[in-house]
């Protein structure tokens, strides 16, 4: 589930959230909105939990680094990195989300954050100004905002723009939906098309299918591991290191690189204890691990990539 869709589903008014945050504190605002959403625990955790930024332990980040957080949602990632880095630029297209992040940072007494309202393809920062760039919400959030430009073109533009802003030797952390996710393999509807199995098809056939059913092109927003690596290489990134957030990047319990079968087995044995991981998912995970294809079918993919 993507964050934009998440907030739409629960009809969250971000402008009222900012007002409440200013008057009663950002945590109270988050609690009120979470209560309204009907998914109190899930939404509250989504807005407040800094656990979403636990991937930072895999990054070579230091106290001297400047970080760019692109489309960072409600500010969890921004605040986490503001605590451990010299400066954080928080970039978003939504003024309300930026305002919420601003209130949150002020109340947490984090004064090393600059808010930037801009599209990720047009970052108003000079080249080579950041050591770390984070794209924790997937690349596909933004195409709806940019009109007729193709999704792939847009994604390439964004990656090029992120590459420019990175300092030599800097690193990018990126999350993306997996087009071959086991959920899609098991017949879940593929957002935003609401069609089953469409992400598994080659793009040309998926376009025909989408045209026939919906009358519009298929926005090929999700990628395979190979697909996202190809896009990153095309943008100039090197040393690509895929990491797999389990069960998904929005709320992960484990981060693994699937390099060892023993680690995979251990992780699956621990997933039994995770209430969000049901019996059928576990059986699928066991079979996929035995066949050696588990990493190809996780719902989300994260990649750590470097600039030469």
């Amino acid at each position: 589930m993507k964050p934009e869709a998440y907030s739409d589903r629960h009809n969250i008014s971000t402008s009222s959230l900012v007002q409440v945050a200013k008057q009663e504190g950002w945590r109270t605002a988050a609690q009120i909105q979470a209560d309204r959403s009907g998914d109190t625990a899930g939404q509250l955790e989504y807005i407040t939990s800094e656990a979403r930024a636990d991937f930072r332990f895999l990054l070579p980040v230091t106290k001297q680094d400047t970080v760019l957080d692109v489309c960072g949602g409600w500010g969890s990632t921004t605040t986490t990195f503001a605590r451990i880095c010299k400066h954080v630029f928080s970039l978003h297209t939504s003024p309300e989300k930026l305002a919420f992040t601003g209130v949150r940072c002020a109340q947490e007494e984090l004064h090393n954050v600059t808010l930037l309202q801009a599209a990720p393809a047009e970052i108003p920062l000079s080249a080579g100004s950041c050591q770390v760039v984070l794209l924790t919400e997937p690349l596909e959030c933004e195409p709806c905002c940019i009109g007729s430009a193709g999704v792939r073109d847009h994604q390439t533009q964004v990656l090029n723009s992120l590459y420019q802003v990175l300092a030599p030797g800097g690193c990018l952390y990126l999350n993306i939906d997996n087009r071959f996710s086991y959920r899609f393999l098991l017949g879940a509807r593929v957002p935003p098309t609401n069609l089953r199995f469409i992400s598994l098809l080659p793009n040309s056939i998926a376009n025909l299918y989408s045209h026939r059913v919906r009358g519009v092109d298929y926005p090929a927003v999700a990628h395979s591991v190979g697909g996202i690596q190809a896009l990153l290489k095309q943008a100039g990134f090197i040393n690509l290191d895929p990491i797999y957030p389990i069960p998904g990047y929005q709320k992960f319990r484990f981060l693994t690189d699937f390099k060892s079968r023993e680690i995979t087995d251990f992780m699956i044995s621990r997933l039994r204890l995770h209430s969000g991981f049901n019996r059928s998912s576990l059986i699928f995970a066991r079979i996929a691990a035995a066949l050696g294809v588990l990493q190809w079918s996780t719902p989300g993919i994260s990649v750590i990539a470097y600039k030469d």
Binding site: E50, F57, L59, K63, I84, L255, T256, E262, L273
Partner: protein, 325 residues
Amino acid sequence: MIEQLRAQALNVWGDIHPTKIKPSTLDYLVQSRDHIVIFWFAKGNGSRHPVLISKIPRRKLFNYYLDRSIELVDQLKAGLRSPVIETIPFRVHAGQVNQLSHMVMGLMPGEPLEIPGNGFWGRRSAERQISAFLYWLVNFQSQALVSQQNLDWESYLAEHHSQATFAFLEGAQFQPVNGAICKRLSPCTIPITWGYGDAHHSNILMRGDRISGVIDWIGVEDQQWFHIDWYYFLFSYAIQFFKKNSHHDPSHHIKLAVSTTMGRSDHWLSDLFRAKTRQFLERNTIRPELSPELFLTFLHHLHWPEDKAQLLRDAYSIYSQSPSR
């Protein structure tokens, strides 16, 4: 950061495994829980078990709790003997990374308790797990007893109630109930023991019919009411049980867990909890009929990340509706 953590973990290898050969490098699996947990695996040794486990807090602010727990557990272990001492992991402070404390420990034997299903085998499994934890806790508390104290509930509430419970207690509806609880508990002398602090089923490791390891001692306390760990275990077990086996919404899981732990539900888990709680209280020479009141004192004491006043309201409602009141 992962490279620094790996190097620090390898540095303390000799402290954790004095007789084992140090591996040249370690593969990792990151787990996101209350803290960051990193399971380290010796490269190419073919074992599906980690050789070291790192724990790091998310924020500098929480270094204190991690460091304090290492000190307290060392103190606690000095007073423990077999078979309890073997169930508590040996932990080492490995240094700091980005100003965050880094603690390393070895793997404890056994598998974490898995919440069972609702059927016949689930029932058998729950009975085995809860009996094993009861046996461990009674043994642990007998070795970790600090003193006996009068449970002066009225004074406790006056001194310790938080903002959330304050609003709740001011409500006229539950004041008489609270008065009745104070009255029933007033002549009660209870043991004060060392407290484990996080008796969540996933922290309890079992091998055969015995508890083989108890991990995550961040919440350790050198003085705690004896019943806190017991009710924490039952209450969190019940929440997870209903999460797994019931299709109701999450708020209903909490209500079910409250009535089950209080022994006021028709579910078989409630019967099991009631029987085991009776054993637990009798071992501590406490009258078993005080269980619902003791459970309510636990709920007041509990750190609850969601709406605490709502939790208490539900619990007091269930308590008030009881036929035995």
